[in-house]
């Protein structure tokens, strides 16, 4: 089994539902519409040959310049039998950042989705316990979004000489 075969299986099964195939550093990467993320995950999990049954990582990326598809949720999957990894992304509008939860397929997605919610504000629809995991509960913003200005260089409340900056 190789990347070419996985790509062929995906196109066979989803048609246009899987697009933008790339292979950066030989890791197969593709994109799917946000509504079909669970269908793709289920297919990759259940297929007797593909067997992507381990969710290595789940996170988000903020692309502030892509109107209507500012936030990307990235899934990293691992086939432990054949030792093959793939990655796929779904994009969503920052105004309505709702994505279906993967917790029904991968239990490990629970905390990863909470972390992604914590830092990027992505609402995982159907998540059993979607609340902040790392930051303080009172926080009312999503710190990893690229919507905050850099530090004001004219600040005087901290003396640079004292902090090596």
């Amino acid at each position: 089994m190789n990347n070419e075969y996985i790509k062929q299986r995906l196109i066979e099964h989803f048609g246009d539902g899987a697009s933008h195939f790339e292979e950066p550093y030989e890791m197969l990467t593709f994109e799917t519409p946000k509504d079909s993320n669970l269908k793709v995950l289920q297919f990759l999990f259940d297929d007797p040959e593909l067997r992507f049954q381990f969710l290595t990582d789940l996170t988000a990326v903020h692309y502030p310049n892509q109107k209507g598809r500012e936030l990307a949720v990235v899934y990293h999957l691992h086939n432990l039998v054949d030792n093959i990894r793939i990655r796929f992304k779904v994009f969503t509008d920052i105004e309505k950042p709702e994505i279906f939860t993967a917790t029904k397929i991968y239990s490990s997605a629970n905390w990863m989705e909470r972390e992604t919610y914590d830092f990027y504000g992505i609402i995982f629809v159907g998540h059993p316990n979607l609340k902040r995991i790392l930051n303080v509960d009172e926080m009312n913003y999503f710190p990893m979004r690229k919507e905050y200005p850099l530090e004001d260089q004219t600040r005087i409340d901290k003396d640079d000489a004292m902090f090596g900056r």
């Binding site: 930051n135 303080v136 913003y141 004292m162």
Partner: protein
């Protein structure tokens, strides 16, 4: 045959002249067979030379503190022989390291668990002001949640710096009134932090 282990082959006689520091007597009246002074001075003298520090070490300043406690710098010389790891036994909270915002309530709880009289020392740039971690997740100085008596600058401060901070604390402790907690100013300070 293995080499015999010998210790102190060339014994050096202990030189105690000018090497032992003795706490100064507080001002008072002396006469033959008696010494009279203020109770607060006597209590202050006792308190400042028998501090029980509570180390609250979260990062690299804690490593410097370990050196401070160890034989070379030896904080025990200042009467702080024993570290307490229960806040209820201790009278000096030494906060060493970055305090994340999520750690804030925990630090405050530790402070509240300490019995009066209590003092706080913020060791290092992070505990004093957030340091280089000018970030959404880091408390910008512990004085936002608990009152601080002495700040030790440095990133991290050398053990000498921590010792100097400790001696500044001792100066404060020695001059404190016996029942500071009844003072108006102190009550006001506690009130400003929402501590009863």
């Amino acid at each position: 045959m293995s080499r015999p282990v010998r210790f102190n082959v060339n014994t050096v006689p202990a030189n105690t002249k000018d090497h032992i520091s003795i706490a100064d007597m507080p001002p008072g009246q002396t006469g033959e067979g008696f010494f009279a002074t203020k109770l607060s001075d006597a209590v202050g003298l006792a308190r400042k030379n028998s501090m029980w520090p509570l180390p609250f070490a979260t990062s690299c300043c804690g490593i410097e503190f370990m050196a401070t406690m160890a034989s070379h710098y030896d904080l025990a010389r200042f009467g702080a022989e024993r570290l307490g790891f229960s806040p209820r036994q201790c009278d000096l909270l030494m906060v060493m390291g970055t305090i994340a915002k999520k750690m804030g309530p925990i630090l405050k709880q530790v402070y509240l668990q300490m019995a009066e009289p209590r003092w706080v020392m913020a060791v290092g740039a992070c505990a004093s002001s957030g340091g280089i971690f000018d970030s959404y997740s880091v408390l910008q100085g512990i004085d936002q949640i608990i009152p601080v008596d002495v700040y030790v600058p440095g990133c991290p401060p050398r053990p000498e710096g921590i010792l100097d901070g400790f001696m500044r604390i001792q100066d404060l402790v020695g001059e404190e009134s016996i029942r500071r907690r009844n003072g108006e100013q102190y009550k006001e300070l506690m009130q400003s932090y929402g501590i009863k």
